[in-house]
């Protein structure tokens, strides 16, 4: 009964390809996020959605396009992959309104070769 699940767990792809990572939460939360964790383990926020609406876009290149078909899903599509996109991407969810813990998925390790 995974609360926040991401697929795939591992993704190896060539430069220039387009790929998607999917995320689903069954916690009934309104807010979902994408985070990027680089090789130095720094966890950086990329996007936040609240009830399917984009709230936060942290100056991420427009090759990254999040899509939220409903409030339980937040997918991340990446166009024209670059070597520097290699990282672990985490999806998370939380109740709306702040002052609340975030629940993270297990991460997707993306390797661009």
């Amino acid at each position: 009964d995974t609360a926040v699940s991401q697929t795939p767990k591992y993704l190896v792809t060539q430069m220039g390809n387009d790929k998607s990572i999917k995320c689903e939460q069954n916690l009934g939360h309104d807010t979902m996020y994408w985070y990027k964790q680089d090789s130095k383990k720094f966890l950086k926020i990329m996007f936040s959605y609240n009830n399917k609406e984009l709230i936060i876009n942290e100056t991420v290149p427009n090759r990254f396009s999040p899509k939220s078909p409903d409030k339980a899903h937040l997918n991340l599509h990446i166009n024209s992959l670059e070597l520097g996109d290699s990282a672990v991407y985490f999806c998370a969810s939380a109740r709306a309104g702040g002052n609340t813990e975030a629940f993270f998925g297990q991460g997707t390790r993306l390797t661009v070769v």
């Binding site: 926040v4 807010t31 966890l43 609240n50 985490f90 998370a92 629940f103």
Partner: protein, 114 residues
């Protein structure tokens, strides 16, 4: 821009001792602060949340303090065990208000030796 720094990249202590991790932030003063644990190959897991009007919060062997004057939070693990070895992250909620924007610190890798 907001900077969140955790005292050291790594901290080694002996089993049974108290581990103390530091989180310092600049500029914006958050309404609350959170601590998470991350194990290798896993996502962060929530541990504790402390509000700006709370000086201290406890949960079993964990204790968190929040000093808004010093812009600092301390995270203590008492009677530490090898199973406590992990990376610990502090996180602040930044504007826009009403929507949680959790920004994480650099993390401290704790190693508890038997």
């Amino acid at each position: 821009s907001q900077k969140i720094e955790q005292n050291s990249e790594a901290l080694n202590i002996q089993e049974g001792k108290t581990a103390t991790l530091t989180c310092n932030y600049t500029n914006y003063s958050p309404a609350y602060l959170q601590w998470y644990r991350q194990d290798p190959g896993r996502g962060p897991v929530f541990l504790l949340l402390i509000r700006e009007n709370e000086k201290e919060k406890r949960k079993e062997r964990l204790k968190v303090t929040f000093d808004t004057t010093l812009k600092q939070s301390l995270f203590h693990i008492t009677a530490s065990q090898p199973a406590d070895s992990a990376t610990y992250l502090c996180a602040l909620d930044l504007p826009p208000t009403g929507f949680q924007k959790l920004v994480f610190g650099t993390g401290t890798r704790l190693l508890v030796s038997p």
